[in-house]
Symmetry: C2
Subunit: 159 residues, 2 copies
């Protein structure tokens, strides 16, 4: 199973393609952080982000989308933008034949560290230990995309 | 200018295609309310709604999308779903070469009735008087889509 993990946003959209390698280890095939122009309108940024995301889907043809459940703890304007970006990602992934898997933040922590209250650094340390080919320097959004994709592989097992 | 007005939702998505006819009157070319299956998951419903909306874009090739500005006064779960559906509509409209126009509820009221505090019935009465080919019986979502498309035509004038 090839999984595309996404940390959705209209400003930065973390994307990671993961699968199991021949040794049964999770490996990053590709990852990036799609960034959009601050000077553009929200609607233009949503379009740019969605278009770039479509290119990744077309190139890597994942079988599943892994994405975190959305909770609103931001301000209303940010929340609307993130929910919109997330909706676009979920729509496009299904258009390109992905199953959609959602995980809460706790599920990601448990899958990676065995403990639901790990901090961000603890999760990232485990990602670096468990997963092959994790980029050394990347934005948080890209690491979060790798973490949720790893969760999806761990939960579904080797298919 | 041909406008597609949308009242976004994952449960019901009101859609209306309007333009000026030869007499300079706003006319409904097509309108519908896309409804999705209550028994399906939110993500499936977003996909169904977006796919049906794509068909309308392909068939009627509008130049502009008219959509209401989103305010969150619903519960959080509904709000996430509506914001997601709205994001998908805004993305797809741009993919099919539409300009995007957003209007607040007050702008719609002023454009149609000349008064920012009209009630829903007042707006609907003016829609029925101003616009040709409005369906006699339709769900609110469909009328709201006609109202926001009419606003877009009125604001932009005859192009």
């Amino acid at each position: 199973m090839r999984v595309i993990g996404v940390d959705p946003g209209y400003d930065r959209l973390g994307v990671a393609i993961l699968e199991y390698d021949a040794d049964g280890k999770e490996v990053v095939i590709f990852s990036t952080c799609i960034e959009t122009d601050k000077k553009s309108s929200l609607n233009e940024r949503l379009f740019t982000a969605g278009s770039s995301f479509t290119k990744v889907l077309k190139t890597y043809k994942p079988d599943a989308l892994a994405i975190e459940t959305l909770f609103f703890n931001q301000n209303q304007k940010t929340a609307i933008g993130v929910a919109a970006a997330r909706g676009i990602v979920i729509f496009l992934a299904q258009q390109y034949n992905c199953l959609v898997f959602e995980y809460g933040p706790q599920e990601v922590k448990v899958a990676l560290t065995g403990y639901g209250k790990s901090d961000k650094q603890g999760v990232m340390d485990m990602v670096a230990r468990l997963v092959r080919n994790v980029p050394e320097k990347a934005l948080d959004d890209e690491y979060d995309a790798i973490a949720v994709a790893t969760t999806c592989l761990a939960v579904n097992g080797r298919v």
